[in-house]
């Protein structure tokens, strides 16, 4: 299998004090063809990063001997390997702290294995495949989402996504002004070119489909955010 051979080049460090969780993750990652290393704590992770070539780190937050937040901060002093935090803490403040300290993504426990794999792939593609890619003309780009208006193509983290014309137009509208909130009425008027009379519900359904195609976890989207009671927006990438 070609893809698996290529993936064997990538080494993922799994760092958690619960050995059963590490073993399960190793099975899932191994089945996708990734090589894994295990660490029981932050300090061990730091020394492993110095000894081996590692492409991604899955890091638990609550660990004895240097927690995940400290280890992430230490790692960020010297390298920019993608770090995904695994955490039982679901408070917003913990997530924000983790991301601000230098982590690239987070997954809350108990996690869905499919989601872990999807996030790992996404981070690796952006770190390795797309790292040095040049920006094309007539392309709208935000984080991992690239919309090529010439070819009418949309890719997320390098993988093409199939969108209907309406979904494509909605995405284009949102990507033209990242961070700006559009109400359903505004989206309807812009995309359908008709005055919106009670048809806003359609917009909401289309956006939901769009989220399901672009986001790893549509319930907590990274790109197309729902601003409840106001509208929708494309989150500005950091």
């Amino acid at each position: 299998m070609m893809i698996q051979e290529v993936r064997l080049l990538y080494t993922i460090l799994v760092c958690d004090d619960d050995q059963d969780i590490v073993s399960a993750l190793e099975i899932y990652l191994g089945s996708q063809g990734y090589r894994t290393l295990r660490a029981g704590g932050g300090a061990e992770a730091l020394s492993l990063v110095r000894q081996h070539e590692i492409h991604l780190i899955l890091m638990d937050i609550m660990m004895p001997e240097m927690d995940g937040i400290h280890a992430t901060a230490k790692l960020r002093e010297t390298c920019n390997i993608p770090i995904i935090l695994l955490t039982a803490k679901s408070e917003d403040t913990d997530k924000i702290l983790g991301l601000n300290i230098g982590a690239d993504d987070y997954i809350t426990k108990p996690f869905n294995p499919v989601e872990v794999i999807a996030r790992v792939k996404s981070q690796l593609r952006r770190y390795i495949t797309l790292g040095g890619q040049e920006k094309k003309e007539a392309c709208l780009e935000n984080g991992g989402v690239v919309l090529d208006d010439g070819a009418k193509e949309v890719t997320v983290d390098g993988e093409p996504v199939n969108l209907t014309p309406i979904e494509y137009n909605i995405l284009k509208l949102l990507m033209e002004h990242p961070g700006r909130v559009y109400s359903t009425t505004q989206i309807y008027e812009q995309v359908w070119n008709d005055p919106a009379v009670g048809a806003e519900n359609t917009v909401a359904v289309h956006i939901r489909h769009l989220r399901e195609k672009i986001e790893i976890d549509p319930a907590s989207p990274r790109y197309i955010k729902v601003v409840w009671g106001l509208g929708y927006k494309m989150e500005k990438a950091l």
Partner: protein, 503 residues
Amino acid sequence: MRPAWNPRAKAIGALIVLTGLLAAFLMLADSLENESTAELLCGIGVLAAATVVWVQLLSQAGRRPSREGIVLNWQDRIPFDLYLAVIAFPYALLLCFAADSLNVISYFTHWEFTLYLLVIYAPAASITLALSFTLATRIKSKTLWSNTLLCRLYLHWGRIWREVILRLPLYWRSAVLFCGYVMVSAGLMSVMRVGFLLCLLLQVTALFFLLRWIAQWSVIRAGTATILSGDTDYHIDTQGMLPDLREHANQLNCLGLAINHAVEERYKSEHFKAELITNVSHDLKTPLTSIINYVDLLKKENIDDETVRGYLDVLERKSQRLKKLTEDLVEASKASTGNLSVERERLDLVQLITQATGEYEEKMTGQGLSLRLTLPTKPVYVVADGRHLWRILDNLLSNCVKYALENTRVYLEISVFQKQAALAVKNISREPLNIDPDALLERFVRGDTSRATEGSGLGLSIARSLTELQDGSFELSIDGDLFKATITLPMDAPEEPEHPLSD
């Protein structure tokens, strides 16, 4: 110093003085009547002799033969002002009779005269003597001032004020004070010429005290309002307050402290509870992660046995349920303790409903449910936290999906009245709802007593807590199989929505 006389000598001396004085008095009275110089001289002589003995007796007053210093007898120990008050009336009466008798003395018969002598003159002179003795003793022993009720009153004024006057009930004190005030002002008015001025001065003084009392009372009232408004740390300054008001202010200060203490305790305990639930659920999540993952791995093994596959399905379903429960538990605890940040912003309820129904469209049609929306044409602006409001709607709509009867309609309505926006969700329950709406709002209570369906029984409780967190109210009503939840939120001022793209 000469030796002290014994009591018998003193008694004889007193008798001599008494007789001398009486004799001198009679002689002098007689001499005035008869204009006889001899009798006058004789009377003066007797009076002088009696006075000499009297002075001797006075110098002996308070002295005893075998004792050093001044010894007080029983009458010397009576407070002097009390003593005077007791003898004042009979003494004055006796003196009046004595003076009066001078005019008629010449007409008296012998017996009448003797009677007069015994009844009027003798007691009057005796009292005079006794008074002079006790006065001398008191002066010598320096107890003339100190052994009076007035002096005691003066010395113990502070204690009397505290223990007697202040212990009187306030209304008695006020009544006494008012009576005193009326009496004093009446007394002052009766003073000739300056009475009016004095009275005016009294009124000004009374007004001053009244204003002072009112000013201090105002301070207390303002302090009470401050404590009531939530600043339980506030301390009313009792410096210089009148005693009754100070007591009142101190009580209020204590009350403030007590409230503060109670609130702190409550906050601590709620906080501790929330912390406990969060920590426990964190600890539950770690083993749960392994369970979910290994069940998933087991399912991927090639197992042909149908029974084993069935068991695995149960394991998977239940572990997912456990996951949802721990998440809901943390959320319910945070919402009910107010341990959640609320980011209020102006948002459109109609827009929110549109978005929410967009999210639920497929799930609803999947259950054969059709949504009926009754929305105003204009935006309805409320000030709320969009994420929390979505969570409330999410819970209500997912309840519809879980518990509504298949192939029925679900109604969503927004109505506006008196600056309140009400959002109602109505659906027909699949199971009969033989339960009180209030009980349904309790945590862990579900419409189906068998608890067979998925769900934690926390959804409505979370929805209510979140609504209350945003100053709204959450109501449930059950009418047969009709289930209706109403969220009422205060509205924001209506304003035309912005149209940044319309130009």
